[in-house]
């Protein structure tokens, strides 16, 4: 058995050696014979009518090979939304086409309405500048504020949508009347209005694409920054360009972070393919950082009113929310799922609240499209809930720990059906809360607060007990809910003749460490050295059809497929071994990498059986095919439900309003843990992003729709000195009941659970410091905002 490389071990990530030594191969690293460069002409106004685009001068410029405008793509299919959501009245959502290049109107700053292909990047950029000068764009009033967008029927992002509303969704609509009644009659109702701030994803590697066309065969190849190459292929083939799937290869090589923003198919990808065909040359494009700010799908951007009805002792009676969710100018591929089935369904939290109703209006604005970003809907749900609970505790002077315990779903209640449509399979929320309180030394907090006060700082503690639904998703369930795709994944385990193994997976690693952790699982099950297992991912010509990596699904879904494929390998190996050992298949055992006849000393190593499968001289050829390669498609039976308790301590400077996160404790239940080192890294990264959202990340459009925070001069990313040394625990695990590995997913947890813990701590610090008028401050709690709130007294 692998002693230090199997399940539960923490080998260092094998892929990091190439990343850290500059040997990774990202899209922009790939140089091709005959390549040429695309540059996009992007709108500088948020909303405008496209008039004449005079391409003559541009086409005459040095090095220019081709010019494309929206006209060239007006007849091809639109980039679709992946989920159909119906409004409360049963009507389907409004679904404007998202074109490859804007046609008729530009709808946000950065919206590409033309592209220039030239011999060099500089020539393409020069020519694009000329084309911009020769393009007539007539300004229209920008639609930026969501409430104003819905109220103003005359000013429309899409001319055919009068109120800028994509849909008005109720979840669960049947709960509405009962929740209204419960809130009306409740002994106490706490109301909180809050903003879940828009975030720019800021993957370290900007988006990049290379289109190739092979005239001899009519094949296309797209190399692109994707979290899910098969999904890209499907979207391009079935919806946008009509290239048959078997004539299009999509390759996502090393990808430097995605956080959701690289799930989606973007127009630039279609353009480089179309241009490659036209020119019969490779056409490449790499975003400049400014383009990333303006055009990567942003995250969050909800404005919510939440009401919590409870007894005087804090027992929950009902929750009700009204939310405006921004989708920006166009529907990105999962833009309609994120605020609905990844958000409304989580609005019961880990609590046995009797009833919940969520109303959500999704609004078009002249801003960059908004879609799933690490956590995707679940951070918004968690933030609303954990903030309003904290506010209620303050109003009723109740202990926030005890209120959570009083309302937790307890282990004896599983499987537990929530009022918002999910069935939680397992969990132990008191256990993670106990653990977090122990780690954080809650009893010693008042001493620490006094010590901070002696240094002139206001110290506060904030709690968040979060739950999420990930490992997405059961295809039949999501189909009922409007998904237009299935959400299984697949793995092929190919045992080579010499006994080493290639595993082809539909999951895609863009920072998660799959190349390390997946071999641990295969090696553990086969009793072999993990170093003999290689992971192949990111190339539709090599891997089985899989749905990629997002929604903390890689391990729970693709990992389960891998597990099941290995089981098939073992089953076939037993048949081969039975023949070779002249024993009955039923008597063959497989343990520690050896096939043996039970009760005897007769055995064969895994390698011997593998060799026999490929050199079948002594082999049951009449009943068994040679070779040792198995594929499994795995469709999960349910979501997985990671949960946990986060405790945050902050110090607020009363002079400047600056917030320092001085301690952060995470007690998580991720089910079984495959590689603790990677799990800790995922939690660190997620909490870092959550602290960034809470403290500093501020995406600001002005009234004209100009992005004011469009560079790192104004968009504050969290830095090492903004985050504390995290304390992370994952020992309170209740294994998932419905996947073979018992795993739940850890990739988004930190970003989901942490923001309310930070804000609750800030409100606690300010209240304890005498600023008792402060019940809430919207994220990000910049020094200026905190100071301004303190002045309002």
């Amino acid at each position: 058995m692998p002693k230090d490389g199997g399940i539960g071990a923490s080998p260092k990530r094998r892929e990091d050696i190439r990343f850290l030594t500059g040997e990774g191969v990202y899209t922009d690293d790939i140089q091709l014979q005959g390549q040429c460069f695309a540059y996009f002409v992007r709108s500088t106004v948020a909303h405008g009518t496209i008039g004449t685009i005079d391409t003559a001068a541009t086409e005459a410029m040095p090095g220019v090979l081709a010019v494309f405008t929206g006209e060239d793509f007006k007849d091809v299919g639109g980039n679709p939304a992946g989920w159909l959501i119906n409004s409360r009245d049963g009507t389907p959502m409004r679904e404007p086409k998202r074109p490859v290049l804007a046609h008729g109107k530009v709808r946000h700053v950065g919206d590409a309405y033309a592209a220039v292909i030239a011999e060099t990047y500089a020539q393409a950029k020069d020519a694009a500048e000329q084309l911009a000068a020769d393009s007539e764009i007539e300004d229209l009033p920008a639609i930026v504020d969501m409430a104003a967008a819905v109220a103003n029927a005359d000013n429309r992002v899409h001319d055919e949508i009068p109120d800028n509303l994509c849909f008005d969704w109720g979840w669960v609509e049947d709960n509405r009347a009962a929740v209204d009644e419960a809130i009306k009659n409740a002994p106490h109702v706490t109301t909180l209005e809050l903003v879940n701030n828009r975030l720019v994803p800021n993957a370290m590697e900007p988006r990049a694409s290379i289109g190739e066309y092979f005239p001899g065969t009519g094949d296309y190849k797209l190399t692109t920054t994707s979290q899910n190459p098969h999904l890209h292929r499907l979207l391009i083939s079935a919806f946008v360009m009509g290239i048959p799937e078997n004539k299009l290869t999509v390759v996502a090589p090393d990808v430097g972070g995605g956080f959701g923003s690289k799930i989606y198919h973007y127009g630039e990808e279609a353009l480089v393919l179309a241009a490659a065909k036209k020119l019969k040359r490779p056409v490449r494009w790499t975003a400049e950082r400014s383009e990333s700010f303006l055009t990567d799908a942003h995250g969050r951007d909800h404005v919510t009113k939440i009401e919590l009805a409870c007894e005087e002792d804090g027992t929950f009676i009902a929750f009700r929310t009204e939310t405006l969710a921004n989708v920006g100018a166009y529907l990105s591929n999962f833009a309609t799922a994120t605020p609905t089935f990844l958000h409304g369904t989580l609005m019961a939290g880990p609590y046995k609240v009797p009833n919940v109703y969520v109303n959500l209006k999704t609004v078009f604005t002249n801003t960059a499209p908004v879609d799933a970003y690490r956590g995707a809907g679940r951070p918004e749900a968690t933030y609303s809930l954990e903030r309003v609970i904290d506010k209620m505790c303050r109003e009723l002077e109740l202990d926030p720990f005890e209120v959570r315990r009083k309302n937790f779903i307890t282990p004896d209640m599983f499987p537990y059906t929530t009022p918002v449509g999910l069935v939680y399979d397992t969990g132990d929320y008191n256990a993670t809360l106990d653990k977090a309180m122990e780690m954080a030394d809650v009893d010693g907090f008042e001493d620490r607060r006094a010590e901070s006060a002696a240094r002139g700082k206001l110290r506060g503690m904030g709690l968040s007990t979060w739950i999420e639904a990930c490992g997405i998703a059961p295809s039949n369930l999501v189909g009922v809910l409007g998904s237009r795709v299935g959400l299984y994944d697949a793995a092929t385990v190919r045992v080579n003749a010499t006994g080493n193994i290639s595993v082809m997976t539909g999951a895609h690693s863009h920072g998660q460490g799959h190349e390390t952790v997946f071999p641990q699982i295969v090696a553990e099950k086969l009793g072999i050295d993990p170093a003999s297992v290689e992971i192949v991912h990111g190339d539709t010509s090599k891997i089985p059809f899989g749905m990629g990596s997002y929604g903390s699904r890689s391990l729970a879904v693709a990992g389960s497929a891998m597990n099941n494929a290995v089981d098939k390998i073992i089953a076939k190996g037993k048949k081969i071994a039975a023949h070779m050992l002249e024993a009955s298949e039923d008597d063959i055992t497989f343990e520690d990498g050896n096939f043996a006849v039970a009760g005897t000393d007769k055995s064969l190593s895994f390698g011997e059986v593998a060799f026999s499968a490929y050199v079948p001289h002594n082999y049951p050829l009449e009943t068994l095919e040679p070779g040792l390669e198995e594929t499994s498609f795995y469709d999960p039976g349910n979501f997985t439900y990671p949960a946990g308790a986060y405790l945050c301590e902050v110090e607020v400077c009363p002079e400047t309003g600056k917030v320092d996160v001085v301690a952060f404790y995470c007690a998580d239940d991720f089910g079984n843990v495959m590689n603790p080192l990677i799990v800790e890294g995922q939690v660190h990264g997620g909490v870092g992003q959550g602290i960034g959202q809470a403290l500093c990340e501020q995406t600001t459009y002005d009234a004209d729709g100009q992005l004011l925070s469009a560079s790192y001069m104004d968009y504050a990313m969290p830095r090492a000195d903004d985050v504390p040394f995290y304390q992370v625990d994952y020992s309170c695990n209740t294994p998932c009941t419905h996947n073979p590995l018992g795993v739940k997913g850890c990739g988004e947890a930190g970003a989901i659970g942490s923001p309310p813990a930070v804000i609750n701590a800030v409100v606690d610090a300010l209240n304890s410091g005498g600023f008792t008028h402060i019940t809430h401050i919207d994220m990000p709690v910049t020094p200026s905002r905190v100071w301004t709130a303190m002045q309002a007294q």
Binding site: T656, Q698, Y712, D714, A716, P783, S784, T788, Q791
Partner: protein, 263 residues
């Protein structure tokens, strides 16, 4: 970035001639000019690098009297070498930007650019330094002329800056969370004849002397003496990082912190 010509003269005289050319622009450390060129917001025909002129570099001085910094001296060199003469100035230089910025950026470039959030203008103005150019000597009080503006004329090159050494001084700044420039910074310098206070980052007019604070501190050099004193919020910068009122408030906080640090 557009194409441009690049020259790197080794004497001031050559640089002056090169700068007389059409569309020529001087390049010091390039910490502002190069990013703006990359964004095609600036398009010089010729860049005249000043970093090859040995005469423009170095730190020299007389203990207790003055220190002179060559205009093309990097922040890192000032941080390393000016401390013997003027610790508060070296401390300021050591906290500009990050190591890459400090190894490229120069004091002359910073002053000629007069970014309203830059650190050096506060030190120069609070110290009552003298800016020497290829044409003349300019008192700090006369040099700065509003946001991104100075009294430098076309073709005029800063050659050095001479700081008188105060009895006590310190710089305190509050960082803008994204750029980590000074959202508001205060440089306080106590001389025998009185205290000078310069504020950067806060005002729409760029760096300025906070005269009310100067009179208070000249009478009593203590933070407590400043209690309740604030400059007017009118005319302060208001943006997504802070309102005008917040910046006015930070003027008080940072000045008190600088006084405390000066001791």
């Amino acid at each position: 970035m557009y194409n441009f010509d690049f020259v790197r003269p080794s004497t001031l005289a050559e640089a002056v001639i090169a700068l007389a050319g059409d569309e020529a622009q001087p390049l010091a450390g390039g910490q502002t000019l190069l990013p703006s060129m990359k964004q095609r917001l600036n398009m010089p025909g010729t860049l005249v690098s000043l970093t090859g002129i040995a005469d423009l570099k170095g730190v020299s001085g007389e203990a207790g009297a003055s220190v002179t910094i060559g205009a093309a001296t990097t922040h890192a060199q000032v941080a390393a070498e000016a401390g013997a003469f003027y610790p508060a100035l070296a401390d300021l230089a050591a906290r500009i930007g990050d190591p890459a910025v400090r190894n490229r950026g120069t004091i002359g470039g910073s002053l000629a650019n007069n970014d309203p959030s830059a650190c050096y203008p506060a030190a120069v103005l609070a110290s009552g330094a003298t800016i020497t150019t290829n044409k003349r000597e300019i008192a700090a009080d006369d040099f700065f002329d509003g946001m991104f503006a100075t009294v430098l004329e076309e073709g005029e090159i800063i050659t050095s800056v001479t700081f008188p050494i105060p009895q006590a001084a310190a710089y305190a700044k509050f960082l803008q969370p994204a750029s980590r420039f000074a959202l508001t910074g205060a440089f306080v310098a106590r001389f025998e004849g009185g205290v000078r206070v310069a504020i950067t980052g806060a005002s729409e007019g760029g760096v300025f002397r906070w005269s009310d604070a100067e009179s208070v501190l000249s009478n009593s050099f203590s933070g407590d003496a400043l209690a309740g004193k604030l400059p007017a919020a009118e005319g302060m910068i208001s943006d997504l990082h802070g309102s005008a009122a917040y910046r006015a408030h930070l003027c008080g906080v940072m000045t008190r912190r600088a006084v405390a640090a000066a001791g």
